[in-house]
Amino acid sequence: MQNLVTNTEEDAKKLIEYLRNNNLGRASFLPITSIKGRKIEKINKNNISGIVEIASELVKTDKKYEEIINHLLGKTVITEDMASAINLAKQNRYAFRIVTLKGDIINSSGSITGGSVETKSANILGRTTQIIILEKEITALNNKIGKIKKTKIEYEISIETILEEAMFLEQGLQEIEIIYATEKQKVLSLQENIEKIEKKLNNLKEELKQIEENKIENEKNIKELEIKIEKIEVKTEELNIYINEFNLKNKDNQIYIDNLNFDITNLKISVSSFDESELSIQEILERIEQELDNNNSSIKIKEEQIEKIEQNNKSLEEKINTLKKQREQIKKDVNNSGQKVEEFKNKRKEKNQELINSEKEIEEQFIKIENIKNQISKLDVKKAKIDIEIEQITNKMWEEYEVTPNNVEEYIKPENIQLTTKKVKDLRIEIKNLGSINIDAIEEYKQTKERYDFMCEQRLDLEEATIKLKKIIQDMTKIMKEQFIEKFEIINKAFGEVFVELFEGGKAELKLVDQDNILESGIEIEIQPPGKKLQNMNLLSGGEKAFTAIALLFAILKINPSPFCVLDEIEAALDEVNVYKFANYLKHFAKNNIQFLVITHRKGTMEIADTIYGITMKENGISKLLSMKLN
């Protein structure tokens, strides 16, 4: 499975060298040139069902690897299940390895391996085939993605068309709005028309009244004309009577003329008879003739008068005729005016109908108007309410926040009003919980704030100071360490020397218990007196301990000699020999301008002193001093 295929054995060798050199572990190699595989030639099937094939036949691979495959799988047969595998193995006397499809194996040795297979982690072989399948899937998915992108583009195009349609629809909406406005105007114009019609109706009513008045007048006229006609008839009758009278008169005149003519004849007879009296008669005659002329002229005038009268008569007749005609015409007119009246009546009816219709319309319009008025009143009530609310809110705003509606625009409008109101409520509750207002709080706050600031400043100062002090301490400890180490070394050295001098041999050393924490570490003294092993000071005898301590004391004194030194019974624990050693050393030391005041009761020490002061207490509480100068 994990075998590595190489060209030649040389290659395999190289790779194994590499593995060994780099300590990478082991691997097995299959050189193409060296491996020769063998295949099973014959399988004793003997009617056993479920045999699939020799394993090498099932593997597809390049021709150059065939030998390797034969080598590995040529002697392996694959069966459907365990039963057929066992049968096959028995039949062929375990001549080859048999593997079932579930991965159970019957080896040629007869051993059987099997169980569950960890498919996920171990299946390397499946991985390559899976890779191929997955690559195919990837290309299929890529194709799908391409298709989806295409459809996406199509959808985008369709979205654009829909947007265009929406634009059209909006335009249509605008047009409809325009139409709506024009229709509204039309309604208004119709209302105006109604008003005009009402005016017209009123005019017509007035006309009707006038016509009725005209009619009455006409009727009056007719009556007057009839009266006139009657008068004219009376006049004509009178004129006729007058004419008759004239005719009678005329007859009288002719009779008169006849009479006159008779007279003339009589006179002519008288003339003849009265020739004598002719002159006179002639005179008379002339007179008569004159009279005759006068009469004739008067006749003529009368005739003329008659003619005139006749003419007058004629003209009057004509007048009568014309008047008659006029009467007829007036009658006709009266008839016509009756028709007209009827027509007007009809018209009036129509107009009345129209009027009723218009009234109805007006009523409807009134109802509409009333409805609108109701709505308006409702709206007014609403408006008033809203106004009151607005006023209340503005008042509230001014009282609570000292903000006018104009200023509000400066503030940010809350996104969620419910949340904000809840917040406001919470804040109110918090304010309530804060308790009653303390007026002195502001002053107190100022004082406290001042104090707080002052304290803060001081704190800062202190902090700075601590930092500085810490730094100083650090520096100091550093210096102390250095100095300590330096001095320690010197003291150690001096201690060793002094020890050797005092003990006349041996070895002594000072040691720090904790090298890392020098300043706080304890100091241990390791000494090796002459003839003894190296040991801790605690293991020494009391005298040795004291003597070692003295050695250390002298070592310190040697390095840093002080002018005056008090030693209080430091050699009390020493034995006689060591006391003398100490005394000698002390004497030797005193030469270095150090004055020693030694309190002691050891004689050896007393011997080397320059001056001795003895202190005794004879009586309780009273000391007595006794001084003695030696040398």
Binding site: Q2, N3, T6, S28, L30, L73, T113, N123
Partner: protein, 62 residues
């Protein structure tokens, strides 16, 4: 998984990773046997098991 050389023995894995870096080593190796062959899905488990046994044996041999 394949690129990380997961599932191979430590030695094979490191060798393959090294081969990806060095050309002269890559020349020597054709590849892991599993990558050079393909089997029907049906026979995958059987063939893999058969090859595993061979591998164990060959390891023992060398």
């Amino acid at each position: 998984m394949e690129a990380e050389k997961e599932g191979y023995a430590k030695s094979v894995k490191s060798l393959l990773i090294e081969c990806d870096k060095k050309v002269e080593l890559k020349k020597c190796i054709h590849g892991v046997l599993a990558n050079l062959i393909s089997v029907d899905k049906k026979y995958e488990i059987a063939v893999e098991m058969a090859l595993r046994i061979c591998y164990a044996k060959s390891c023992y041999k060398y």
